[in-house]
Amino acid sequence: MAVSRSGAPDVVVAGTFTSLRRVSRYTAVTDDDLREMLDAIGVASVDDLFASIPAALRLDRPLDLPAGLPEQAVYEHLRELASRNASTEDEVTFLGAGMYDHYVPAVIDMLMERSEFLTPYTPYQPEISQGGLQVMFEYQTAISELTGLPVSNASVYEGPSALAAAGWLAAQTTGRPRFVISEGTHPHSRETLRTLSVGYQTTVDEVPLRDGATDLEALKGALDTDHRSASPTAAVFVQQPNFLGAVEDVAALAQAAHEHGALLVVAADPLTLGVLEAPGAQGADLCVGEGQTLGNRLDFGGPSFGFFAAAQAHLRKMPGRIAGETRDVDGRRGFVLTLQTREQHIRREKATSNICTAQALNALGGVVYLSWLGREGLVELGELMLQRTHYAREKLSALDGVEKLHDRPVVREFALRLAAPVERVIERCRAAGINPGLALTDDGLLVAITERRTRTEIDRFAEVLDAAVAAERSAVGASA
């Protein structure tokens, strides 16, 4: 393996098969130990322990990997790699599109790094796992509160795969072979649903946006084709707020889906649900989504967690772990993994999902974050984002060569159209220390606001964007 740049020299020390070279910092077998252990086993060398591996299959050379390094050298190497990434500490970022630069409170770092939460496996032995199990129960309660749906599992992988998992539940429950998904969902969600639909044996049709939100008439039209084909729809998928930041009319979309017997799956940003109506209260059958906004760091896209909430009817078709309350033999309150007969380790090929390891530690971060924000804080934070997003949208769209992509209500993100090549505008803004957002097709720009983006930063962004657009327009004019 060629390790570029900052790695240690590619020196490979030949490993010996018959004796352990030395006590490494993560193992502890001394020469004396080795002798005693081999004696106890009754073999002459560690070679004998591998006798069942045919000689022809043994690797007759050391792995082509660099030699091991002391802890401090590994730290320096990883620090050097980190230094070549532009993080949200290095630039003021308006990037969002699924993951957002929110403030993560110190209590979360402290709790997520506690050995007792960080290092156990899945709680298969409930008597010594009450902490983790109660966290799951509290997390499920918080997700039910946010989504307005009575059933939540203890987490799935992340946002787009959570949406695809909802598709599997819908297809299994309805026995129908078709999905209809709004173009307002995250592109990664649509791509993931398409990938997995090959296995689900479902088809995927997309419904376009109209003025920034899901086109209700187009949705009804798409569902009406059900009557003329043998492919009735299992589920309709929408996102709240949608990929362009617009708030969707979930109630109307739910009604359209239900008129055709399809389930409505809403992929929601949980941090907006202090100000936006709960999807469950608007008729959503399933509410899923990306949990990163709840106290999880960006981590270049993961690990975070996906949440998965449902109406009561779907309890026994849910994927993944669910914690439930019970009593011990002495009558004390306790928690266990429950309804396990849904799961792969019991039901195998008839399980409701193949998921095993999910994102428990990240879900812990989620429930700690929600407890930190609290009942009033969630609403206050939502209101702050709502107001600053409005301010930024009006300020930026008032610039020459910048207009709103749509006029729909927005909460934390909005889309603009630039009268200049967006990629070049982004480059100019980044050179001025501001990451202006995500490039969309046709010179669109998706701009996200969090509580970390102050008015001062937004005003500075407006100046930088104004200059960048003007410079690009004059460059285009000059070359024309």
Binding site: E277, T357, L361
Partner: protein, 501 residues
């Protein structure tokens, strides 16, 4: 146990209206009314907890004390590879350049991250003997799903609809569950008397309808299937693909490679073999490596290294132009934070250290097995197959149940009183009263001795009074819990708001 640790009130129950841990930043822009239509605005806010920061910290710290964890004690949970989680990894993963990097950052501002991923891909390719890697899957079962979809795409591209997946009866439950989600059909293959795949049964069931076989090697019995070349020949002979469940890779790093055994697809569990802390049920990470013939179908985006020549540094790009790709399986690039940790681990150990880890894991497992025999345990808990093992072994509690009147479950619960996490119990399914033990390489001989002595002591105790084990544990925060009642009338949250009640 202090009263605070014994407390089972939830954070919701502890809250009081008006308490808070959060101070909102000032509203620094003009307030505007009516930004949201009334129909879209939430009318009843979620009933989240209302606590101050000290209460918040105390609640979760006390809850944590109701958990057993790897940093506190021995955790020989078979098939889960509970090896030490170096703290260095938490430190480097938390560096802002890694932790606060946005996934949509332009590749020019993420060269360190992409180079790290590329280096990790190359290392996993070398360890597995398969050249092409995708880091995208979020966990082992997610990697399995990728693998079976890849096998399916491979056959369909050849105009073949192969619908059967062969899985041994020793397989992890995720294997058959994955097959169903990939739209294929499970065909079980029997286990022979040595604990390997029954070759006659395999020959009878392999055919033109076979899409792939899913195998773990060493398998969940801790047995390396020495017939693997023959198995590969049979499956390849009927045009099928071999899938390697990497759950047990910790036994063979630097010793033998799935690619050299004939496998076409392998998934890794970074949260087992490569020390990503398990977090009480995730995050995990399930990268896959594939052979040349499966490569065209691999997930996108992929990382590409662009060498510009002229002695300039290489550049790393995300690339999605692969028309035969099955697409993507999740958002963004995978669980990057786990890549940082596992890459740090690989650089700490190096080629020789990884091999030492596997050799020591196998040595520790065999030593523990020998110590249990010396302590007289084998009479009641015999090894299910063979005489030696790889990195884990399966004991059968059948004789213990018959002669001492305690079940494997009782033994496991009594181990809790001795301060040990029990091994995996009742898996694999084909062993009566199974106990699957995986000590890992990071435990000392003294710890293994202590564990063997504890099992011997529990058996001695059971010979005199089996009731102690049958009613164990006795020293844990709660004792045996009524799981049947929990499933019969599920209470899976607190009922707070009217709309969710």
């Amino acid at each position: 146990m202090s009263a605070a640790v014994a407390d089972t009130q939830t954070i919701f129950e502890k809250g009081r209206p008006g308490r808070r841990a959060f101070t909102a930043p000032d509203l620094d822009v003009p307030h505007v009314d009516g930004l949201l239509p009334e129909a879209m605005r939430r009318t009843q806010e979620p009933a989240l907890p209302e606590v101050s920061e000290p209460e918040l910290v105390r609640h979760y710290v006390n809850l944590s004390k109701r958990n057993f964890d790897l940093d506190s004690g021995f955790y020989p949970l078979g098939s889960c590879t509970m090896k030490h989680n170096p703290r260095l990894h938490e430190r480097v993963a938390a560096l802002p350049g890694h932790a606060r990097l946005h996934p949509f950052q332009d590749p020019s501002g993420a060269q360190g991250a992409l180079e790290l991923m590329w280096n990790l891909e190359r290392a996993l390719a070398e360890i597995s003997g398969l050249s092409h890697v995708s880091l995208q899957p979020s966990a082992g079962s997610h990697g399995e799903l990728a693998g079976v979809l890849l096998a399916r795409a491979y056959h369909e591209d050849r105009g073949e609809q192969r619908i059967e997946v062969l899985t041994p009866d020793t397989a992890h439950g995720t294997n058959p569950a994955t097959v169903t989600m990939a739209g294929l059909k499970v065909v079980k293959v029997a286990t022979d008397q040595d604990g390997g795949v029954d070759l006659d049964d395999l020959r009878a069931k392999a055919g033109p309808q076979t899409a792939c076989i899913m195998l773990t090697n060493p398998n969940t019995l801790g047995v390396f299937d020495a017939n693997i070349q023959e198995i590969a020949a049979i499956v390849h002979g009927v045009g099928g693909v071999l899938y390697y469940d990497g759950a047990n890779l910790n036994a063979v790093m630097g010793i033998t490679r799935p690619g050299d055994m004939g496998f076409d697809i392998v998934h890794f569990n970074l949260h087992k073999t490569f020390t990503q802390p398990h977090g009480g049920g995730g995050p995990g990470s399930g990268p896959i490596a594939v052979s040349d013939r499966v490569e065209p179908y691999l997930m996108v985006p992929r990382i590409e290294r662009v060498d510009s020549g002229n002695g300039a540094e290489p550049r790393f790009e995300l690339e999605s132009d692969h028309p035969k790709s099955i697409g993507r399986l999740r958002g963004f690039h995978g669980n990057y934070g786990t890549f940082v940790r596992s890459y740090a681990y690989i650089r700490s150990l190096g080629a020789e250290g990884l091999k030492d880890a596997s050799v020591t894991a196998v040595l520790n497992a065999n030593y523990l097995l020998a110590r249990l025999e010396q302590a007289g345990v084998a009479q009641y808990l015999p090894l299910a197959f063979g005489t030696l093992c790889m990195h884990e072994f399966v004991l059968s509690g059948g004789p213990m149940k018959r002669e001492l009147g305690i079940r494997t479950l009782d033994l496991a619960k009594r181990l809790l009183d001795h301060g040990f996490h029990p091994p995996t119990v009742y898996f694999p399914l084909l062993v009566d009263e199974a106990l699957l033990v995986e000590p890992t390489e990071t435990e000392t001989k003294e710890t293994l001795d202590g564990f063997a002595d504890a099992i011997a002591e529990i058996l001695r105790e059971a010979a005199e009074d089996p009731e102690i084990a049958r009613t164990a544990p006795h020293t844990t925060p709660v004792r045996r819990l009524d799981e049947a009642a929990a499933a019969k009338r599920p209470r899976i949250r607190e009922s707070l708001s009217a709309e969710t009640a």
